[in-house]
């Protein structure tokens, strides 16, 4: 059962990582234009350096 003391923090840590990733996507406004983003990925001119703001 000692393995629990490792596994539970690990699983919680991974979950938190996911939560942080979500928080980051929110913060960087990645849900502002869902329709446009789904099209942008398919276009042929690549946006190698998207503007950071």
């Amino acid at each position: 059962m000692e393995v629990l003391s490792v596994l539970i923090p690990v699983s919680l840590g991974l979950g938190l990582l996911g939560l942080l990733a979500f928080w980051w996507t929110m913060k960087s406004r990645q849900y502002d234009d869902p329709e446009g983003d789904s099209h942008r990925i398919l276009r042929d001119d690549y946006d190698d350096k998207p503007k950071q703001d």
């Binding site: 059962m1 629990l4 539970i8 699983s11 919680l12 979950g15 938190l16 996911g18 939560l19 979500f22 928080w23 929110m26 849900y31 502002d32 234009d33 869902p34 329709e35 446009g36 099209h39 942008r40 398919l42 276009r43 042929d44 001119d45 503007k51």
Partner: protein, 726 residues
Amino acid sequence: MSLAEHPSAAACPGCVVGPEIADRAERQRSATAHDVHLSLPSIHCAGCISGVERGLMQLDGVEDVRVNLTRKRATVHVAPGVETDDLVRHLAQLGFDAQPLDGATLSAGESDRAARDLAMRLGVAGFSMMNIMLLSVAVWSGAADATRDLFHWISAAIAIPTVLFAGQPFFRSAGAALRAGRLNMDVPISLAILLATGVSLSETMLSGKHAYFDAAVSLTFFLLAGRYLDQKMRGSARSAAAELAALEAPLALRLSVDGPETVRLPEVTVGDLLLVRPGAKVPVDGVVTDGMSELDRAFLTGETDPVAVGEGETVRAGEVNLTGVLTMRATAVGEDTLLHGLADLVSVAEESKSRYNSLANRASRIYSPLVHIMALAGFLTWMWATGEFRTSMMIAVSLLIITCPCALGLAVPAVSTVASGRLFRLGMLVKHGTALERLAEVTHVVFDKTGTLTLGKPALVDPEALAPETLALAAALAEGSDHPRSRAIVAAAEGRDLPRVRVTEIGETPGYGVRGLWQGREVRLGRAEWVGGEGSGTVLAVEGAAPVSLAFEDVLRPGAAELVRELKAQDVPVTLLSGDAEGPVSALAAELGIDDWQAGILPGDKAEVVATLGEGGAKVLMVGDGLNDVGALAAAHVSIAPASALEATRVAADMVLLSSDLSNVAEALRLARVARKRILENFGAAGVYNMVSIPIAFAGFASPLAAAIAMSTSSIVVSLNALRTR
């Protein structure tokens, strides 16, 4: 919204003020770079994004372009000195029509922020729910003693901060309701979440068997999901409405010592001299001091025919100047204008509409006291039977969790979101929260004529009956004018095999007509009294020949006939109320098959007719676009305005029809009824579920596992049912 309508200059507020917004941007051309917002109604694909972004980047001074396809908008960061007009013209060359948006009107940040805030809380609740559920699985499958306690403590450590953070929207709203001495939905929700967490914490301390951390957090999660959907739906409607408003920036051209300057409307004061260009709207009430022109008063009175105005005549805010440049002196500004007087009517109606009891409200009024009484009854019964505070408290909490209005909290927003989304794709914007429900109850439909059933754009009657030479001559003269009738003549002449005519020295006399020279003779096209013909209306005269009179009619809006037919098939009575003269109204009524019509109605009377119908028990749907309809729109049970209407009218209406096709209204009616049915079904499902689960919880058999299963199942059932709305 590929359906977005592109009305004439007179009917398209954006096109009218477009140049003025551009002007203002020019003035703003201060030392700093700035953002320009453009509306791009026609973009729809990846190619369009690339086309617009790459196309604009080619222009000098454009530093950055970002297209938002969801909102059909582009934000362009430009260097000082770049004019909005150039951007629009460049896009037009590339085949994208663009309209400048007023950035100041566009700040939709508030609702965006609220939605993001809710999404963040939703994310946190979701994360916690998953982790606690996993820990709970171990407990449910038989973890005991120290292991169970450990799991409960870990759950507590995750759940308590989550509940405190994610539950805030409910706590805040419940607190506000309690302070006002009311009960709302959020009171039992907050109570359930807080009690469940508190009781679970004390159970954990006492190393008890059952903890409801999973229930408290999943309750928060499901209800937040409903709240988020609701916010998202309102936010998108509000941002679309804001975009409509941003298309017509409240600007005026003020004449000052150093020429005309563009100012915002609130800055105009009584006595200011204002310049009204052809195609622009009269900004405030006033008197003409100089110039001759014709005004389109359709928005105010419903008349289709343009009215001639000259020096000394009164003009009203909202009228559209058609031909000549007018100088006017402002006599009433801001709240004194006729337009604002109408806004008062709207606020009165808003109040009555906010008093409308939505289904969710009615349900919650019965439901929330019931939930409290139930939990209290459970607690007292068990207290009396066993005398054990701990057991009784657990029963009360399980009852609160089981009866908690997940179905209400999630079912109604889910259905409304699905229905509003479908309506949005049809080109209908639902502005008011309860509008969809009110639309479902409609039993009587009242229409306005000009601009609603018709497009408010003239078309030449029977061009075949005219001699080809006459039509060619009229078209050649009309080419040089922007008057709606001139454009109608040009449109009628287009695509016809007409003899070539050469008219020279064409000149327009604003307010009267156009003249030119043809084969050495003078030809005139314009008002009858100016041309020299008899009667009224538009006349073409060639020197030395008898004048030919040209007749015009208003074009029927696409889908109008279908809509009226559909309503008749559903046995919904239809009434036509118009401020226009009897002739055109009766002709239109006959064409559409409307038996109940009234012509020459004053604005106040319209509202009265609608109110009388309402008092008679009918639930009236008013469809209108004019300022003369504002009172009626506000008095009706539910109202729709086309996007071509003035801002004041759109504010008064519950829904805005963005597409030019009226038959979408019939589809909206059908959808609203389906949505209402789904909401009622969901209530039914919730009722059945409660009837089954309450006795179980009351008897003390509701373990945390049972509560978790029951709650998730009911939430999923209602959400799936909501998706059937189509």
